[in-house]
Amino acid sequence: MVGKESFSVRSFRVVTGVMLITWLVLPLIPLAIWSFAKGWFFPDLLPKRWSMQAWDYALSDTSGVLDSLWLTIGISLTATVLSILVGIPAGRALGMYKFKGKELVELMILAPTIVPGIAVVLGIHSVFISMGLNNTVSGVILVHLIPTLPYMILVMSGIFANYDPSFEDQARSLGASPLKTFWYVTLPAIMPGIIVGGLFAFLVSWSQYILTLLIGGGRVVTLPLLLFNFATSGRNDITGAIGMIYILPGIIILLLTAKHLSGRSGAVGGFGQI
């Protein structure tokens, strides 16, 4: 700490800290309250009556919210697994080798992290129509790879840049087959990257809206689409309940991995897409 700190400096810090905390949680509060409200009219600061109706509805078999939840989990998990499978070899190439055209390859991989989905999805949509991928879950999964894959590759190339391949040579010279070497030597070493990159990929896919809307064509209704529909149709109580369900995986992931999610990782840019 540089120099002496006066009382006023310290109180300024505490005051701004309190304001920051308030601001950070503020938008989530009405959402949470709405989910338990039974009618909440202007100018009441809090609902006059509370109820579990919205939750009962959201968790019932008939509303389709749970179906949508499982569908969203399925899409995000598949996109994550595909990203991992494709991202590991690409990350290895970028992290461990120098080659001609590497800068171009890096640029190609970075581009989807900057170019917004709306700019590419219109073109994809008109091709997917002819391929029969429109309005299908597979089409949605494929198109989710555009934002998820780059972050997976960035994380893995960071991991492989600090990875010593002599361990693999050592294992081979001790008699391990290439497959066993990968399983017992490479995989444990890159596991932290797979976990962090995978969580990012999952959350990025989880938060996709416009890609799903256009490619899913209203047939593939993931949780954000459902949430959007309820929000714009004025059902605030159900919106609140779905909103709470929708942010849950992120919170769980955060609680599991808070220490990995430092801004030092190049992957933190992935948060810009959520």
Binding site: M1, V2, G3, K4
Partner: protein
């Protein structure tokens, strides 16, 4: 120009129960070059930061010419600290780095340019002003860091491990440069180091800090001849600690009666003799001569280490390889422990 007094200075970091520095008191006379010596983590850098005003002490005081400076902001203390890893601002040219302190004082640009030129001349880097720090070697970066500090004409200069990142031949060059500039400009200079050789080579006086406390503060050679205790002696490479008792002039122990130099303490204690001061000579049967048997012999190129047995007592000695060429394990030798090389440590 500035006499620095440190009075009972202590620092306990928040969340820690052990003090990083425990009631350190030191007087550093005007214009002297003093080393704070100690193993890493002993509170040296903490002390420097507190002198520079970059860290608040938990208790105690820092005075410049008998005036407390604790309430002075770091930029007004007239103290400049040079960090171990130089910390040249990477986005600035060498010249902008050197001129930084003057720019902060709003010195006019032409004068900054002139003084930066002079300063780069002084540290023997006249042509490198336009380079980026990253294009310089470690030794050059060190000199730029020194120039950046000296250009503001500080009253007190603080150096953190100034020689430790340099290789052997650069160390002596840098030592001469630092000593030369320091004496020319008369700046009271304090540097910290964990390396006793670096301390001895560069400093007028050495303050040894062990476990957050000042052990001894003297001219460098005293640490070799008259250390205050066994820990101090060991830190300076001392060996051979033989228990016994002293009457002030003679030490009685398993080695027999040995004549002591003047000033030795009385009572129970440990006798110490540095291995390089033991004379191994078959003919010398003068004062403090002992019969010994060679039990181990280790040739190290420029020196030969011998382990000798005097009765049951082991004594380590270092000798010129040529002089002990014919000795082998099991041989009997006469060794001499000159009284001036002995010292008694309290137990």
């Amino acid at each position: 120009m500035t006499h620095v007094s440190i009075k009972e200075l202590s620092k306990t970091y928040p969340g820690s129960s052990e003090p990083a520095l425990d009631r350190l008191s030191l007087e550093i006379p005007t214009g002297e070059l003093t080393a704070l010596l100690g193993p890493s983590g002993c509170g040296k850098t903490t002390t420097m930061k507190m002198i520079a005003g970059l860290l608040d002490p938990s208790s105690g005081d820092v005075l410049f010419d008998d005036r407390s400076v604790l309430d002075d902001k770091p930029e007004h203390r007239g103290v400049v600290m040079v960090f171990q890893n130089y910390l040249l601002f990477p986005y600035m040219s060498v010249a902008d780095n050197v001129g930084f302190g003057l720019k902060m004082r709003k010195v006019p640009k032409p004068e900054i340019d002139r003084r930066v030129g002079e300063m780069l001349e002084l540290v023997k880097l006249p042509d490198l002003g336009n380079r980026r720090p990253s294009a310089l070697s470690g030794g050059q970066q060190q000199r730029v860091a020194l120039a950046r500090a000296l250009i503001v004409q500080p009253n007190v200069l603080l150096l953190d491990e100034p020689l430790s990142n340099l290789d052997a031949h650069l160390r002596f060059e840098m030592r001469d440069l630092i000593r030369g500039l320091q004496q020319k400009m008369g700046i009271t200079t304090i540097f910290v180091t964990h390396d006793q050789e670096e301390a001895v080579v560069l400093a007028d006086k050495v303050a040894l800090i062990l476990d957050g406390q000042l052990k001894q503060y003297e001219d460098a050679d005293v640490f070799y001849k008259r250390p205050v205790d066994e820990a101090t002696a060991r830190f300076f490479g001392g060996q051979n600690f033989i228990p016994g008792s002293s009457n002030g002039s003679v030490f009685e122990s398993a080695l027999g009666r040995l004549v002591l130099p003047e000033g030795a303490i009385s009572g129970a204690g440990k006798l110490t003799v540095r291995p390089e001061n033991i004379r191994i000579n078959g003919l010398d049967k003068g004062e403090n001569s002992l019969k010994a048997v060679v039990s181990e012999r280790l040739f190290l190129g420029t020196q030969t280490r011998l382990r000798l047995l005097v009765g049951e007592e082991k004594i380590d000695a270092i000798a010129n390889p040529n002089e002990v060429e014919n000795l082998s394990v099991g041989d009997a030798v006469n060794i001499t422990l000159p009284p001036s090389s002995l010292w008694v440590l309290p137990t």
